[in-house]
Symmetry: C2
Subunit: 206 residues, 2 copies
DNA sequence: TAGATTGTTAATCGATTAACAATC
DNA sequence: TAGATTGTTAATCGATTAACAATC
């Protein structure tokens, strides 16, 4: 938050956090940059630079204190403050995302689900109720929701994005297999699973 | 395949492909680099560089021929040759991945599913049968499978990865929320959805 | 032809890596 | 103290961007 991090650094931090949590659960007290580097296939200097970027520092010869480091990452990445979000599309993927409870460790709190299928309206997934998408604009304003997770078919994604943006949504996590276009000031992350597979598959062909 | 592309270029190519397919379906004949650039928020020079990297070229003043460009991308990214894969873990996420039929356009062909739940063994998801994971080593060798999609809980992921590597698997597309470590020569793509969310959430806080 | 767009070379920018001093 | 590991400065590397010539 304070200073702007480079995108590559920002992407590495959650991975550091995961390792730090592992160490934390195992009761370790310290971790060295070379241990992190080894696990993630990153240069150890890089790891120290990244850690410096979030204003934390270690102790020469000893490493980084797990408890402090974890706390710093949580603070910097704002993991402890839950960010309420709506999830649109209660198919298999939507259900998987709704049921996965690991997101709460990363600050994501899906509070309600939306679909168009009358059979699904009113159902409960854990504590989350399924509403009709026609209610989404009102509910988003009412609950002051800024984030939407889109797990609907590609054909409907852009239209739905337009709708929720009008409802005041500022960030869209898009799992539909299309690149959504949005006005300036709105954040979109196109998850693009198929594209990720292509990268994997090309590496395999090296 | 021929020359090695930079990772950023490789990641952009599937996105170009998606746009080219849209144009193709709309019956367009040509596309200009600035159109692609605008849609994807990439520099137009970058787009031309990337296209040059796959040995395709356009026509000054006109642009890139959709049919030719599409064909070149398919060839270069090897999209037309289906790559058989096993999917392990038939939960909601696994089901979503198994049912999604858009992967075939990107060369992924999930041919069988695996789980440990006796209730699920023998079920069919579309044309894909669910087998017990104990069969996976034999079946992988038998069908000469090189790719596995992992959609199982984090705690089991590393162990399963070790198992399938012994069975000759060369690439793992891992959706479990852990970073899997593998020996050299094995390709892993850790999908890490929570980490992606953190990046989105940090951008929102800018 | 004139103008628009490609292709390519050069310049910039920023991330990664290497070297090494600081320090516990 | 000696040695290991951090923190930081400098060097390298590579990706992106800018400039412009080529061309249809």
């Amino acid at each position: 938050m304070q200073k702007k991090l480079s995108a590559p650094t920002l992407r590495r931090l959650p991975r550091y956090y995961r390792i730090v949590c592992e160490y934390y659960e195992r009761g370790e007290e310290y971790i060295r940059s070379c241990e992190i580097a080894g696990k993630l296939d990153v240069d150890e200097t890089q790891v120290r630079k990244d850690i410096a970027a979030i204003n934390y520092s270690g102790k020469p010869k000893i490493g980084f204190n797990i408890g402090e480091f974890k706390f710093h990452l949580e603070n910097f990445l704002d993991l402890s403050r839950p960010k309420k979000a709506f999830l649109i599309g209660v198919g298999n993927l939507g259900l998987a995302l709704a049921k996965y409870n690991g997101f709460s460790n990363y600050g994501l709190d899906i509070v309600a689900l939306f679909d168009t299928d009358p059979q699904k309206i009113g159902l409960k997934v854990g504590e989350k109720e399924v509403f009709h998408v026609s209610e989404i604009v009102n509910k988003a304003k009412q609950d002051n929701i800024k984030i939407v997770v889109l797990a609907i078919p590609g054909e409907e994604a852009q239209k739905m994005a337009n709708l929720v943006i009008e409802a005041g949504i500022k960030a869209i996590w898009n799992f539909a297999p299309v690149d959504i276009e949005v006005p300036g000031g709105i954040i979109v992350s196109n998850q693009d699973l198929a594209a990720d597979f292509v990268v994997l598959s090309m590496k395999l062909n090296e």
